[in-house]
Amino acid sequence: MNPPLPHLVLRDGNGAPPPVGERFAAVLALLEQGFTLTCAGPEPAPVPPTEAPDAMLLDWPALCGADPAARAAELAAPARAREAADARPWLPWFPVIDYARCTHCMQCLSFCLFGVYGADADKHLRVEHPDQCKTNCPACSRVCPEAAIMFPKYKAGPINGDAVQDADLQREKMKIDISALLGGDVYALLRARSERARSRFSKERDADKALAERQKCLAQIAADVPPEVLMSLPSPEEIARRAEEAAARARAARQG
């Protein structure tokens, strides 16, 4: 995970504040560098900076000028030098759980091969290792029967956090097996399992329709998972081992 930069408190200081355009350019440059900011203005700071132990107080005139981007980079340089030792910059892509919807069924824990999920002593789902999530892969959200898994940076709802509609729930109720990601003959797999699918769905809906929905959902998952993630999947044997391990953890979480 990326190390945090100091918190900057920007205040008027002595003299007239710089023009709005210069202040805006400075704030933009600092945010692009990764600083968190308090723009205190003439009023007291919204959240007292003394509560942020790493806060640095800076006057606007010290920030504004000809090249705000260079000034922001200069401020970030010490932290960036430390960061260089960290081999892999992390993009903040990870599942966010909507606990108003989550039933702690652990299907996502069973599904994820990368150990992102875990469960606590109360059998509640938790996102244990967000930094192990694969950037741009929203596949686990597709297996959630309650549409309770969000990726705020995803392009479309309800995965991006938009309100969940009835139609979304119908689509999400199709549980997808991890083996579908192995790149094998998905439709042969589906045919082999059709009998089970039929018995599973026969009580509540037309079996052919259910199978069609499952196929549609499966295709959607395959389209959603970035090629880099598919390429980085381990061998089929290792996937089978990890899937079994994850399933065992999910069973243990459910049963206590």
């Binding site: 995970m1 990326n2 945090p4 918190h7 709005v20 202040r23 805006f24 704030v27 933009l28 945010l31 692009e32 560098q33 990764g34 600083f35 968190t36 900011l37 308090t38 723009c39 205190a40 203005g41 003439p42 009023e43 007291p44 700071a45 919204p46 959240v47 509560e51 942020a52 993009l91 903040p92 892509w93 990870f94 966010v96 759980i97 909507d98 606990y99 108003a100 919807r101 606590d120 002593a121 109360d122 509640h124 789902l125 938790r126 996102v127 244990e128 290792h129 967000p130 930094d131 969000m150 705020p152 940076k153 995803y154 392009k155 709802g157 991006n160 956090g161 938009d162 309100a163």
Partner: protein
């Protein structure tokens, strides 16, 4: 009455917030003379459970310029800093234009809009996940 704290998320790592909207809203905040907080990326702060989020959640009335209210609520919960439903308004930069978003942020009144919790008496359920259900 104390004015709401304004928090602006720059969504630094993704292009999901329209750039023109982000820039226009940030420029209007700078021009307003009102104090505000700004973070490069709420997702990143939530993932590392940054204590700034807890301080913001505890600061009183809060207006957050970011993305969907359901996502923002989940991010603060993930940081172990649940938002108070009656004191939080999320201004969604994914769907609002700059004019509407700026007006909502800079308005004196607060229009709480977080989605409800699972349990019926929402006031006592206090916005969210069990504390233990979140990353360490």
């Amino acid at each position: 009455m104390k004015a709401p704290v304004i928090l602006y998320c720059h969504c630094r790592y993704a292009q999901v917030l329209p750039d023109a909207v982000k820039r226009a809203v940030l420029e209007r905040l700078c021009a307003s003379g009102q104090p505000f907080e700004a973070v490069p990326d709420l997702c990143e702060l939530a993932a590392r459970r940054d204590p700034r989020l807890a301080r913001l959640a505890a600061a009183g009335a809060l207006k957050i310029a970011a993305c969907f209210p359901r996502a923002v609520k989940g991010l603060f919960a993930a940081a172990g800093a649940p938002l108070a439903a009656d004191r939080t308004e999320v201004v969604n930069l994914r769907v609002l234009d700059a004019e509407a978003a700026s007006a909502a942020l800079l308005a004196a009144e607060l229009s709480p809009n977080l989605p409800p919790d699972k349990t019926a008496p929402a006031a006592t359920a206090a916005a969210t996940a069990p504390a233990s259900a979140l990353a360490p």
